[in-house]
Symmetry: C2
Subunit: 335 residues, 2 copies
C-alpha cells in the first residue's frame, strides 16, 4: 500500500491492482491457468497450448474520445477493453487462454484503477482467461490489450471462406451502441431506462466466445462487428471474392431501437459500429445446426441475407425495395 499522498509507483501499481494471488474464482469455461505456465512477474509469460492447437492472437487499442467517452464508468471500461479483444477470438472460433494489458495513465488513481481492474477481471473470470503480462506507464490514457487463444490447427473461422449460396447470419441485436452514442452527441433523446439499456450495449458488449466455438465446422466465414455491419461485411466479401444480398429490415434490433425513426434505425443497424456481435456465413444445409448452436449457448442468431457469386452488396428492405444510404463504415482517421 502506498503512503498517503505519495504517488503510486509502477511496480506497486501492478502488485496492487493487477497481480492476483490465491484467488478462488471458478471460471466457467476452463481451469484457470491450465495453459499458463508462467504469468505476470518475469520478462515474458509462458503459455503451453494443447497439442494440435494453433495460437490465435489479436490486439486492440482503446483511446479516449475514439473508443470510449470520458463519461464511461471505469468498471465498464475495464470490461470493454477485454471484451473487444475476446470478440476477435470469438470471430475465429478460438478458446481464450490469456491476455496482456499495456496501460498508459495520466496518474495512478485508485478511484479509477480499482473499478477498472474489477471490470476487467470479472469478464476475464467469466471466460477463464488470465492476465499474463503487461506494462504500465504515465501518459495520456491509452489501453492496449493483446489476447491469446487456441484453435484446432486448420479449424479457425476466417473471413475468406464465404461461398455463393451461403446464408448470412448475425448474432444478438445491432445498433444499440450507436443509438446511445447519438444520445451522448445530443442528436437523439431517450427515456432514462431506454438510454441505460442502450448505454449498456455500448459500454458493456458481451463477446460471443461460446457462439464462435460452437460455429466451428458450421460457419464458412466469420467476423466480429466493430466498425458497422456494412463495412465489416465488406471485409468478408472482399476476402472471399463474393458479393451479397441483404434485407435491412431483417437485421435484429432491440425494442428501444425499433421505436425510433426508420432512417435512424437503418443507420444504427447497418453502419452503427461497436456492436461486437458475430457476422457469419454458413451453407444452407447447416441452418438447423446453426440455430441449435445459438440455442445451446443462449445467443439469438438471425438470418438476414445470402452470399452471391457476383461482386457487390445489394441492400433491400422487407418489401424488396433497394435501400440507399451512405455506407461508409467508421474509420479512425478519415471519419
Amino acid at each position: 500500500m502506498s503512503a498517503p499522498g505519495r504517488p503510486l509507483g509502477e511496480f506497486e501499481l501492478i502488485e496492487r491492482f493487477f497481480k492476483r494471488r490465491g484467488r478462488t474464482a471458478a471460471p466457467a469455461t476452463r481451469p484457470a491457468g491450465r495453459a499458463v505456465a508462467l504469468g505476470i512477474g518475469d520478462d515474458c509469460a509462458l503459455l503451453t497450448p494443447d497439442a494440435g492447437m494453433q495460437l490465435a492472437i489479436s490486439t486492440d487499442m482503446l483511446v479516449e474520445g475514439r473508443h470510449f467517452l470520458p463519461t464511461v464508468p471505469p468498471r465498464r471500461l475495464g470490461h470493454k477493453a477485454l471484451a473487444v479483444n475476446l470478440s476477435d477470438l470469438a470471430a475465429c472460433g478460438a478458446e481464450p487462454l490469456g491476455f496482456t494489458l499495456a496501460l498508459a495513465l495520466p496518474r495512478a488513481d485508485p478511484a479509477f484503477l480499482e473499478p477498472f481492474a474489477a471490470g476487467l477481471f470479472a469478464l476475464a473470470d467469466e471466460h477463464g482467461v488470465e492476465l499474463i503480462g503487461g506494462d504500465t506507464t504515465a501518459g495520456p490514457l491509452n489501453i492496449s490489450v493483446t489476447v491469446l487463444g487456441q484453435v484446432p490447427a486448420g479449424g479457425a473461422l476466417l473471413r475468406r471462406g464465404a461461398r455463393a449460396g451461403d446464408d448470412l447470419w448475425v448474432s444478438g441485436q445491432l445498433g444499440d451502441a450507436r443509438l446511445a452514442l447519438e444520445v451522448f452527441r445530443g442528436n437523439v433523446a431517450l427515456g432514462a431506462a431506454e438510454f441505460e439499456a442502450a448505454r449498456l450495449a455500448m459500454e458493456c458488449p458481451q463477446p460471443r466466445v461460446a457462439l464462435g466455438r460452437a460455429l466451428r465446422g458450421l460457419a464458412s466465414a466469420a467476423i466480429d462487428l466493430s466498425d458497422g455491419l456494412v463495412g465489416d461485411l465488406g471485409h468478408v466479401l472482399a476476402a472471399s471474392n463474393v458479393g451479397a444480398v441483404i434485407d435491412a429490415d431483417a437485421l435484429p434490433r432491440s425494442a428501444v431501437l425499433a421505436a425510433q425513426a426508420p432512417a435512424l434505425q437503418r443507420q444504427c443497424v447497418l453502419a452503427g459500429g461497436d456492436d461486437y456481435e458475430l457476422l457469419f456465413t454458413a451453407p444452407p444445409q447447416h441452418r438447423a445446426a446453426v440455430e441449435a448452436a445459438g440455442r445451446l449457448v443462449g445467443v439469438a442468431v438471425t438470418r438476414f441475407g445470402r452470399i452471391d457469386a457476383a461482386a457487390g452488396l445489394q441492400v433491400h428492405d422487407a418489401g424488396g425495395r433497394a435501400v440507399e444510404m451512405d455506407w461508409r463504415g467508421f474509420d479512425h482517421f478519415a471519419a
Copy 2:
C-alpha cells in the same frame, strides 16, 4: 495511395505502411513466417509453434517523453519499439516468431510512418520475425508492441533461478543511453562524435536475442536491463530469494563514458536505464562456456559479481570500498 490533401484512412494506413507483400528479404535466423500460419488481415493471426515448445509473450508500451524524446528520428523509434520487446524474449532465451503493433497517432503522416515502418521492419527482418497483427487509431502518440516467441518447454531463462555462488554477468556495455539522456537534459556536454555514439545506444538498442538463446542451459537466471542495473538486479534477487556482491568498477562501459567524471559513470552504469543488455547468473563451472557463447554470437560478456545466500545487495569498487548512492531505479510513476 491517398489523393493529395485527403487524410489517410485506417485501412489504407495499414495497407500502405504495414502490410508487406512478396518481400524477398532473407531473415538471418529462420525462414520468415514458418510459424505464422496467418498474418495481418483477419480478426486474429494464427501461429503454429514447433512441437514441444512453449510460447513466450511480452508487451511494452512506449510513450513520448517517457520512453523516447520528441527529437528521436522516426526510423530509430520504429527500431526501438520492437527492440525493447525482443529484449524481453532474449532475456527468456526465446526464439522470436512474430509481433503485434498497436499504434495511436495524432495524424497519419507519411513523413513519420515511412521511416518508422522502415526501422521497425529492418530489425524484424534481422531477427526473422513477422508483424502478424495490430491496430491503428488516432490519439496521442503511443506505441504498444506485443512480441511472441518460442522456447523449449521448461527451458526458459527466468528471474528466479539464481543460486548462492553463481557468477553475475552482463552483456555489452552499460550507461551510454543514460549519458545521452543527460546531454539532452543539458546536464552533460559531449563532442559531436561522442554524443552521436551515446545517442545511438539510447535510440537504437540491440536486443541480445542470439545471446539469450546461447545461454539456455548455461545461465541460471536472466533479466533484460531496462530500468537500470541495480533495480533490475533487485528483481532477480527478490525472485530468487538471494543477495549479491558486485564490483561497480567491473561494469563494462564505453570509452566515451569512461572519460566522464567517476560519479556520473557510476550513476550511468548502475542506475542508468534503457541499456537493453542481458544481466544473468551462471554457476562458476560454466564460466568458459559462457565466454564461448559470447564469442560465438559476437557480444561481450563481463563478470562483475556473485550471488550470495544472504539477502541484500553490496556494491563495492575495485579497491573493495563500499559504494553509496541513491539506488532507486527508474519508475514511470514515482520518478
